[in-house]
Symmetry: C2
Subunit: 209 residues, 2 copies
DNA sequence: ACCAGATTTGAACGGCCGGTCAAGTTGGGG
DNA sequence: CCCCAACTTGACCGGCCGTTCAAATCTGGT
């Protein structure tokens, strides 16, 4: 049988990116060494530089790759939901770090922060970040447009509303991921839903028993 | 015995912190070397380690120091304004990177991002960040309470409203400081004012004429 | 079985930089 | 004026880590 040995080039490439993303999440960009990634991927350090021309390039690619993965998973899940209002709720569910138990601490947000800090100085990363962010706003705007078409949401510039809601999520998520004692996942979730309901003009079913 | 030269020592200490903050803003935390700080402060590298026990300590202190400075300047300015609504507007003015020309690009936000990334792994920095953030929310909440007392704003939990507005500012500021082509300072300012007016229940004077 | 090219290894190199230190300089008190 | 402690310097050390490279191994084709 073919042992585990033969790996296509593409597999290796992705394996290393996966390993790098894991290491960055765990140790932080600044503390990530090539040998850490090699260990995580189960290969020798030399091989990393065989597939990536430099450590910097590897880390940059890993960051956008990981954010890509997150985005794809999210939009896959959301596409399944028929109601725009429920789509929005689920997007918020997924965006609140640690809100849905099955998703762990949702450390993707930590990677975002690493992207930001790197984008401040790395033009390529700045470009990638802008695209990633645009896509994020876009997916919110799409939900809003769908809700407006179906009458679930009131009128208003969908892109502008998406910017506001998306930015609110960003700002709150930072504090939640930092384990701020005042800003719990529940509180973040509630804040997002309330602002969204006011901005989009729908009533929040208050869970009164 | 007698205190030796507390004044000069204190000056040096602060000079170095200032220099470090400048270097971090310019080059980023990851790229900041002790010798860079020494150059910026006009002293020898050895002296840096005479005043700070390690590079890590220095950088941590510099980050909180710089954010402190920003906060103090902001609250000094805001205290002068009588109307709560104008206080809020000015707080937003100051928070939008590059909105007020006289304040340059307001790179303090870049330092915030560095704080975040460091706070993810450094418990002391995490603690400091939480205090800094609490103070930031608090100063917004104070404005809101004043406005509610004077009748300028509607009712509502001031702390909750402050969290929402503060987080929105955070999330938007990130994108502005990244030079996102879609999120201009003007657009951020407008978004903040609109959400604030809706959340706080006051009318936005639409600039006619 | 053999070859050629692709893949993989790990040892070794070299630069960089945080931290140390011994030697100087300064300035105020006696 | 001298002395001592505080302050300041810059050379130096040592380790770390990104990168290189020659050699080993593997793979598929003939």
């Amino acid at each position: 049988m073919t042992a585990v040995r033969p790996k296509s080039t593409k597999d290796r490439h992705q394996e290393i990116l996966d390993a790098a993303a894991r290491v960055i999440t765990e140790r932080g960009l600044a503390e990530t060494r090539i040998s850490d990634v090699a260990d995580a991927a189960g290969v020798s350090p030399g091989l990393i530089l065989y597939y990536f021309e430099s450590k910097d390039r590897l880390l940059s690619e890993a960051l956008t790759y990981a954010n890509d993965q997150f985005y794809l998973r999210m939009s896959r899940e959301i596409r399944r939901i028929p109601s725009a209002r429920e789509q929005l709720r689920h997007l918020i569910d997924l965006s609140v770090p640690g809100y849905l138990p099955e998703y762990g601490r949702l450390d993707e947000w930590a990677l975002w922060i690493e992207v930001w800090v790197r984008a401040l100085r790395d033009p390529q990363m700045a470009k990638d970040r802008e695209l990633l962010d645009q896509r994020w706003r876009q997916s919110i705007a799409d939900i809003i447009r769908a809700g407006q078409a179906s009458g679930e949401f009131g009128e208003g510039d969908a892109d502008e509303l998406a910017l506001r809601i998306g930015s609110l999520i960003d700002g709150l998520a930072i504090q939640v991921i930092m384990n701020d004692s005042q800003v719990t996942p529940q509180r973040m979730h509630r804040a997002c839903m309330e602002v969204a309901s006011r901005e989009l003009g729908f009533a929040l079913e208050t869970a009164g028993a």
